[in-house]
């Protein structure tokens, strides 16, 4: 069987929506399990006493990255058929910065706010209203932002292509970086742990 299954027409559009729902259940389930329905847990990342965001996120990235890499190495998955969002460096740098501001001000990101809202967090519900408003404003302003939105266009670009390195080597470096990060988290969390009188 060749992956990605959908790209090889193993099933149609209607079936893909069922798969979307099932995959979504898994996504929401593990976000909530990890504590990401709580803005306090999420923002602890930025006060360095609980680095669960870093741990969960990079474990997930490494897991999926290794899976995709080995499946393509074994010839089971065609990596060239995987959707890649185009790299538009300037809007992605500015967008990332604005999104980071929104994260520590609002306490969530879009996915985690859904989990927060559905488990009863009122701030998560209000965050979603803000999200709707922000996207509406962006849409209305789009005619003026279009030039910037399309600037810094590198097309579909991967890190191995950008740095002229073999794909497998970049995978290995990301694993090393993640493992180094994980080993450092314990020290950082102890260093920044709230003192008893503060808690």
């Amino acid at each position: 069987m060749n992956a990605p299954f959908y790209k090889f027409a193993a099933f149609g559009d209607e079936a893909s929506l069922v798969i979307a729902f099932v995959i979504g259940i898994g996504f929401g389930f593990f976000l909530e399990r990890g504590g990401f329905g709580s803005a306090r847990k999420l923002t602890s990342q930025f006060y360095l006493d609980d680095l669960a965001v870093f741990k969960v996120m990079f474990t997930a990235i490494v897991t999926a990255m290794l899976g995709v890499f080995y499946l393509s190495w074994l010839g089971i998955m065609d990596l060239s058929l995987v959707d890649l969002v185009t790299t538009n460096l300037w809007p992605q740098i500015v967008g990332g910065l604005v999104l980071g501001f929104g994260f520590v001000i609002g306490g969530y990101c879009p996915g985690t706010s859904l989990v927060a809202a559905v488990t009863g967090r009122v701030d998560g519900m209000i965050f979603i209203l803000g999200l709707l408003a922000g996207i509406f404003v962006f849409g209305e302003a789009f005619p003026f932002l279009k030039g910037f939105y399309e600037s810094g266009d590198f097309g579909k670009l991967t890190l191995p292509q950008a740095f002229h390195l073999p794909y497998g080597l970049v995978v290995f470096l990301v694993v090393l970086m993640a493992l180094g990060g994980f080993m450092g988290t314990g020290w950082v969390e102890r260093r920044f742990a709230p003192r008893p009188e503060e808690s």
Binding site: G34, I105, L131, L159
Partner: protein, 189 residues
Amino acid sequence: MSTVPDATAARPQPRPPVRAAAPYMNPYLAGIGLGLVLLAAYVFMGRGLGASGAVTSFVAWAVSLVAPGHASANPFFAEYLEGGLGHPLKTWLMFEVLGVLAGGFISGALAHRLSRTVEKGPRISVAGRLGFAFAGGALMGIGAKLARGCTSGQALSGGAVLNAGSWAFMMMVFAGAYALAGLMRRQWR
């Protein structure tokens, strides 16, 4: 007949609340679970996960209900209105997001974490926190659209397939959040 009260009556055991919230899952296990879900999305669909895309479809659809001509004349909204399988809301991401709501609810219910609360630090009022939640959500909406995706679609999904723009985006998210963390301390600590 003994008048000595029995020990358990004299010293009632502190009983945990009926619905004490379970502790969170080990972050590395949760990360492996999340990673396998993301891998499944790539293996089955050849695409990653997302969240803000579905919210955008909803906004475009809502605008088209109020002002159909205005929505279709705007290239940004028009793209999302044409993106569905026959209806703007019938998209892969919309069904995935419905699943996220279901999965989050299931996990929260199993762990007794369903409760109507406001997540905030002790030094800020509820109204203040909700104001920041709205403002942060609005900034996040603008940032996610500028960057062509949010933490799910860009950082997580793009990160796993080594998308260059996704990694640049991810670094900037952390940079932005850490830059404002000091100013926002009152809200969380």
